[in-house]
């Protein structure tokens, strides 16, 4: 049985004068340790989909199954990292990364030590007592990743975590996140609108259409690219051919939906 299943999920929002279907009949099965990217234009319902996968929204149809169990409500087994860091400005970095354990009532000495160690592993040293506004964007995003990892989730959801960063920081952080996810053997799901990033990071790429979000195509990233770090993947000749393939596919849908 697959590790994580998005089982025919649809979700519709209701307002007084309209109904909006954000995602429609999404079905996907993921193996443990797999890295999947959702690639789509804005308005493809990606945030809705991630919120459903995290158990924050109950889908109008379908269900989410993790490790054979249906997800109902937020669970520490799924970690969700937002587009911006959303570190609490009134808390120190240490308080920020320990908030998850504190909320779950698991803040023991050992857990605390492990999380601080995680912070050091991310290359953030001597920042525990600092406040978020004293850190650069890349450092803040790394701290936010530590916060997400602090409760040791099996599944990681990443909602365009690199989109607010400058290009150089983004490339460096891609490599770091990629290697850490492999090191800690997490299953991960990245949402992005950057084709290059999707190819560089993932094993499979799922294309979503605009409003309502539907799966239009799934690409498998070639074996030889999967094991390379994102930075090296970007320079591989196969990277460019896959990039063009996906680009064409996206173009096709663009023109289709415009007519």
């Amino acid at each position: 049985m697959p590790f994580f299943i998005i089982d025919h999920v649809s979700h519709t929002y209701f307002t007084k004068d309209s109904t909006t279907t954000a995602v429609e009949d999404i079905h996907l099965e993921m193996e443990e340790g797999e890295f999947i990217s959702f690639l789509g234009p804005s308005g493809c319902g990606k945030t809705t989909l991630l919120s459903i996968m995290a158990g924050l929204i109950e889908p109008t149809e379908g269900k989410i199954i993790l490790n054979g169990k249906q997800i109902k409500g937020a669970t520490p087994a799924v970690g969700y990292m937002l587009q911006q860091d959303y570190l609490f400005p009134w808390k120190t970095i240490e308080e920020n990364i320990l908030i998850g354990l504190k909320l779950l009532n698991q803040l023991g000495e050992e857990q605390k030590k492990r999380t601080i160690q995680l912070l050091h592993d991310m290359g953030l040293k001597h920042v525990e007592k600092l406040y978020p506004n004293q850190l650069s964007g890349g450092m803040r995003q790394r701290a936010a990743l530590v916060r997400t990892l602090s409760t040791n989730p099996k599944m990681l959801l990443l909602d365009e975590p690199f989109s607010a960063l400058d290009f150089q920081t983004k490339l460096k952080l891609e490599d770091l996140v990629f290697s850490k996810i492999k090191e800690y053997q997490k299953t991960a799901c990245l949402v992005t609108h950057d084709i290059g990033e999707a190819i560089a990071m993932s094993d499979r790429i799922v294309l979503l259409s605009r409003r309502p979000g539907k799966i239009t195509k799934i690409f498998s990233v070639p074996e030889e690219l999967r094991s390379l770090t994102p930075f090296k993947t970007r320079q591989h000749p196969k990277f460019h051919s896959l990039f063009e393939l996906i680009w064409k596919e996206l173009e096709q849908h663009e023109t289709k939906s415009n007519h």
């Binding site: 924050l56 937020a74 520490p76 969700y80 609490f88 400005p89 009134w90 997400t148």
Partner: protein, 268 residues
């Protein structure tokens, strides 16, 4: 090297200019202050203005010394300051608690919405006589006046700030399975701290109004009582003295709250 020296020199000149400007501003502020009192004194002595109504700075100062020595001024001042401090702290706390309740239950907030509008629009000091009848003509009624005048507006302002907290902060907490109480304590309340402190500043002023009007009505003790008493016996020296003291202490309180604000929200 030479270039650095020139820059240093220019910087020196710039700093000098700043200090000079600041000194001028201070001078003018002081000048207005002094000339106001001198003019007042002269106008009063030359009977350009009615001495009975407008008094004069020296007469007020004499009265100040007299009242200070017989102890009546300090006791009245103490009572009024006590009532005001209690009034604005209670007003801010109750207002924040009410706002928390409204945030907790959106249904309750929808139901209470029109009542909040009515209560906010109503001049609260008009409730004074009712307070005096219910709570008795004393300290309690006056503190209640100082509180009620600020509590509704605090509720509305703080509740608005609760609602404006970035939903993504809540989302972060939700992913860790936070309860509603945890979300309130970890995100809603701390991120609204600046708003709460700034309502504290507004409430200082409002509570002075409530307390002085309360003292007018109860007419037993306090600076408000001195004003109304001075008015009734036509002793405007006393009225103006009380006004001057209120001005000084209201300013001091405002400055203290501002200081607290700076200390508390350093990191935001």
């Amino acid at each position: 090297m030479k270039r650095k020296a020139t820059i240093d020199l220019l910087h020196q000149q710039y700093l000098q200019k700043l200090t000079k400007e600041k000194r001028w501003i201070r001078f003018w502020q002081f000048f207005i202050f002094i000339s106001f009192f001198i003019l007042w004194e002269i106008a009063s002595r030359q009977t350009w203005i009615d001495q009975l109504i407008f008094s004069s700075p020296t007469k007020i100062f004499d009265l100040f010394v007299e009242k200070l020595l017989d102890g009546s001024l300090l006791s009245n001042l103490f009572i009024t300051v006590f009532e005001t401090v209690l009034g604005f702290i209670l007003g801010t706390m109750l207002g924040t608690m009410l706002a928390a309740l409204l945030w907790w239950s959106p249904k309750l907030s929808n139901i209470l919405d029109p009542y909040l509008v009515i209560l906010n629009a109503m001049p609260k000091v008009a409730l004074g006589p009712i307070f005096i009848v219910v709570l008795g003509p004393g300290l309690t009624s006056i503190i209640a006046m100082g509180t009620i005048i600020s509590v509704i507006i605090t509720t509305i302002v703080v509740y608005t700030s609760f609602k404006e907290v970035d939903q993504n902060y809540l989302k972060v907490l939700q992913t860790f399975g936070a309860t509603k109480k945890q979300m309130f304590m970890e995100a809603i309340l701390p991120s609204s701290f600046p708003t709460i402190i700034s309502t504290l500043k507004v409430n200082v002023g409002l509570s002075w109004v409530g307390v002085i009007v309360g003292e007018f009505l109860v007419s037993a003790k306090g600076l408000g009582y001195l004003i109304i008493y001075g008015f009734q016996v036509f002793n405007f020296n006393l009225v103006l003295l009380s006004l001057a003291i209120i001005a000084v202490f209201a300013t001091i309180m405002y400055q203290i709250v501002e200081l607290i604000e700076k200390k508390l929200i350093k990191n935001q």
